[in-house]
Symmetry: C2
Subunit: 219 residues, 2 copies
Amino acid sequence: MNKEKAVVVFSGGQDSTTCLFWAKKKFKEVIAVSFDYNQKHKFELECAKDICKKYNVEHHILDLGLLNQLAPNSLTRVDIEVDKETPKDSLPNSFVDGRNMLFLTFVGVFAKQRGINNIITGVSQSDFSGYPDCRDVFIKSLNVTLNLAMDYQFEIHTPLMWINKAQTWELADELEVLDIIKNETLTCYNGIIGDGCGECPACKLRMNGYIEYMKSKEK
Amino acid sequence: MNKEKAVVVFSGGQDSTTCLFWAKKKFKEVIAVSFDYNQKHKFELECAKDICKKYNVEHHILDLGLLNQLAPNSLTRVDIEVDKETPKDSLPNSFVDGRNMLFLTFVGVFAKQRGINNIITGVSQSDFSGYPDCRDVFIKSLNVTLNLAMDYQFEIHTPLMWINKAQTWELADELEVLDIIKNETLTCYNGIIGDGCGECPACKLRMNGYIEYMKSKEK
């Protein structure tokens, strides 16, 4: 079991960037892996690249265009508009079926090739917005399945699993990267870096968390 | 739960073709899905195409070239020779890490898009040759993980899980497709249809099973 190296599933957003810095504190060597699945905003990958370059992290972008062919949806197809609000009775239409499962499986293959056991992902059950593949029970089940598939010991770390957005900002602050996360990451569904468009569900969640954390800090 | 339709993970080899005909007996509508991961022998995909065309099965080929980039090995790279015998202490070098996990996950995404619950794969623990992702425990774990990932009810069928090659020939005979399997499928690592090169481990396993079944039938 290699305890010195880890691979981070990295999108360049608030959550995965916080995880990247968390991993940099915890492991000697950190590698970031991003996926190109024809996201509507290529700027997301550019943002991920810039962060890795600036903070000296080895970065790989893997082509997962196939995912887009299989599960067309509002994050990848230009002709579907992102829901302004999460629908009450169904999954938000930004959901790509099986996305995290595919990301983590490819990252598993990648990690084993390099003798790495630790994988870090920024999924969170607290903020899961109806995405089934952000739940803890899914990640634990996937960890077992991955180990069985490759007869190898993976350890999937989920530092954000049980914390909300305000607490994710708090974690960034503890890691001394609050400003980096606020200004250099991209979470916005409309592709705007930092504070974003302010109107999509991702921006609202992010900003509400930030305000909540800042208020709690003042106390 | 849709009991009329199924998707078969289909390579055009003995095992998955037997499963295809098994599925055609059991389900009203069967769709075959193959993967293009730059196999050394493109003829494998041609063979899969021909079988589907001839026996009137809807067929999709999904591009998984990424797998080859991640896990280079003897089945996909021209510069590595396939082991003549399975190494005693390690995996055969034809092993692509995570292959079945990725195949089944993509097929899961595909199936859900079409409202299909049943997935059929020809993996077998009896003949697993050291491939961890052919074991029953892996398939069961994957089934749970897939269901959790997509919040959907998949049922993975493995008609060959506990039977050996001779019994797979017997199953083909029961399904009245023995000659089709013998003459029109491709299992050989060297890309030769039907009885194959006769020298690679896949050909030996296949032919030994055939001889064993034919002897048992004479009795």
